[in-house]
Symmetry: C2
C-alpha cells in the first residue's frame, strides 16, 4: 500500500480579511484525491513569521508532505521562505541556481527585488518539471508554492506524481429521506464495515434529493460489499439513485 | 478600542476530499471584516474527535471567539459537539430547552436521531436571535454552527453583533508596474508607517492592472497619511487608479 498524507498551509492576509476567495485549496483537494493522496489539514494563517514557522513545524512532523501557498514573492509581506527556515532552524542562504534563473527572468531594473527570491533555507532542493519554468523550492517535506492561482495550479500539477498513492474508490447513494430518517442505517452499516469512509451530506431545497451519502475505501471489494449492504438495509423508497 | 480576534474551524471530510468547495470561510471572512473583527485563522480538519478537540483547545486559548462549521447534525460523522466537550473536559448532557425545540421540529418518526442534537457539553449556552429558529450552542468562547451554507450564513449573521469591533479603514492603489518595481517603495512606506496593514496582490493577465496594493488601518488619520505618502514616493506613471 502506498499512502501519502498531506497538509496545505495558505499564507494569506487577503484570504483572512475576505478580500479574496481562496481557490487553491479546492484545486489541491481535488487533485490530491484524484491521485489517492489524503489531504488531512488545510490552514489559513496570516503573513506573520511566527505563525508560519509554528504551523510548518506542526504539519511537517505529522504529515508525509506539506504544501504552502503564498508569501514567496519579492515584497515585504512575502515571509514564507523565512518562516520555513525558522521552522527547521536553518539559515537563509543565496542559491546560485535560483539566482541564475532569476537573472534570466528579471530585467535589470527589477533585479534587486527579484534576487530576494534566490534567498532560500540552507539545503533547499529545487524541483522542476511539468509546465513550470521557475523551480519549486523544497525543504525537508515542505514545498513552497506561490499563491497566485495560475502559478499554484501549474506547480501543484507538476508535483502531483510524488504524492501519488493507492486510489480511493467512491460510490454514492442519493436519498429522498432526510438525515433523521437514514442516520440509524448509516450507523448500522458502519458497525459492520468500520473501515468504510461514510459521508452524509444534506442539501436544503435541492430539487432532486435530500441527502447524498458517499461511501469510500481504498479496497474496492470492501466498498462494493458495504455499498450492497447499505442499499439492502435502507427502507423501500428512500433511495432515488446511485452512482 | 474594541477588538475581537476570531478563528474558524471547518470540520469537514467533504472539503478535504475535494467533494465540496467550502464557501463558509469566505462568507465568514467578509462578514467579520465588515464588523471590524480580525479573522486570524481558518482550519479545515477531518471528522475526527481528537483532531476537533485539539484544534478547538488550541484556538479557544488564543482567540477571543472561535466559530466551528459542520459536524452538528444527527449522523455518525457529526462529532463536533463531542470534540468541543473533550476540548474543555466537559461531560455531554441532555439540554431540556434544546430537547423542547427538537420535539417541536422533528416528526415522531425521526425523533430518535433528532434528539442526539439535544446532547451538548455541560454548561452550554444557547443563543437565539436573527433569522434563526434553532439556537446556536456555545461553550466558553466557542460557537458551534452547522456546515450547510444556508444555515451557517443565517447563524453567523445572527451572531455578528457580538463580534463587532472598531472598523478597519481601507484604501487601494492599482499599479501598472509589477511587484519587482514597487517592492522597494512598499518597504520604504512600511518603515515610516510600521502599523500599516499593507498588502500587495499581483494579477496575471489582468486587463487593467498588474498589482493591487491595499492599505489598511483602524486609525483613519494614520491610513490617510500613509496613503498620501505612498502615492508621493511611487514613480510617475506607475499608479493607474486608487480607491
Amino acid at each position: 500500500m502506498r499512502e501519502c498524507s498531506c497538509a496545505l498551509i495558505i499564507v494569506g492576509n487577503e484570504i483572512l480579511s475576505g478580500k479574496v476567495q481562496d481557490s487553491n485549496s479546492y484545486f489541491a483537494a481535488r487533485r490530491l484525491r484524484e491521485v489517492g493522496a489524503t489531504l488531512a489539514r488545510i490552514v489559513v494563517i496570516p503573513d506573520e513569521l511566527d505563525a508560519i514557522a509554528e504551523e510548518v513545524r506542526h504539519c511537517a512532523r505529522r504529515f508525509d508532505a506539506v504544501v504552502t501557498s503564498g508569501g514567496v514573492g519579492p515584497t515585504h509581506d512575502d515571509l514564507t521562505i523565512e518562516g520555513v527556515a525558522r521552522a527547521f532552524d536553518r539559515k537563509i542562504v543565496n542559491n546560485p541556481e535560483l539566482e541564475r534563473v532569476i537573472r534570466s527572468h528579471f530585467s535589470e531594473r527589477h533585479l534587486a527585488a527579484g534576487l530576494k527570491m534566490a534567498q532560500v533555507p540552507e539545503g533547499a532542493v529545487l524541483n522542476l518539471g511539468g509546465d513550470v519554468d521557475f523551480p519549486t523550492v523544497q525543504v525537508e517535506n515542505v514545498y513552497m508554492l506561490p499563491g497566485i492561482p495560475e502559478l499554484f495550479e501549474a506547480k501543484m500539477s507538476a508535483l502531483m506524481p510524488r504524492f501519488a498513492s493507492d486510489p480511493y474508490f467512491l460510490r454514492a447513494i442519493y436519498t429522498q429521506a432526510g438525515e433523521g430518517t437514514i442516520a440509524e442505517y448509516l450507523n448500522s452499516c458502519l458497525e459492520r464495515f468500520p473501515q468504510l469512509l461514510l459521508g452524509s451530506y444534506p442539501k436544503i431545497r435541492h430539487p432532486e434529493y435530500r441527502v447524498k451519502v458517499t461511501l469510500e475505501s481504498k479496497d474496492q471489494a470492501y466498498l462494493d460489499e458495504a455499498f450492497r449492504h447499505l442499499l439492502e438495509i435502507l427502507p423501500q423508497g428512500v433511495v432515488i439513485k446511485t452512482e
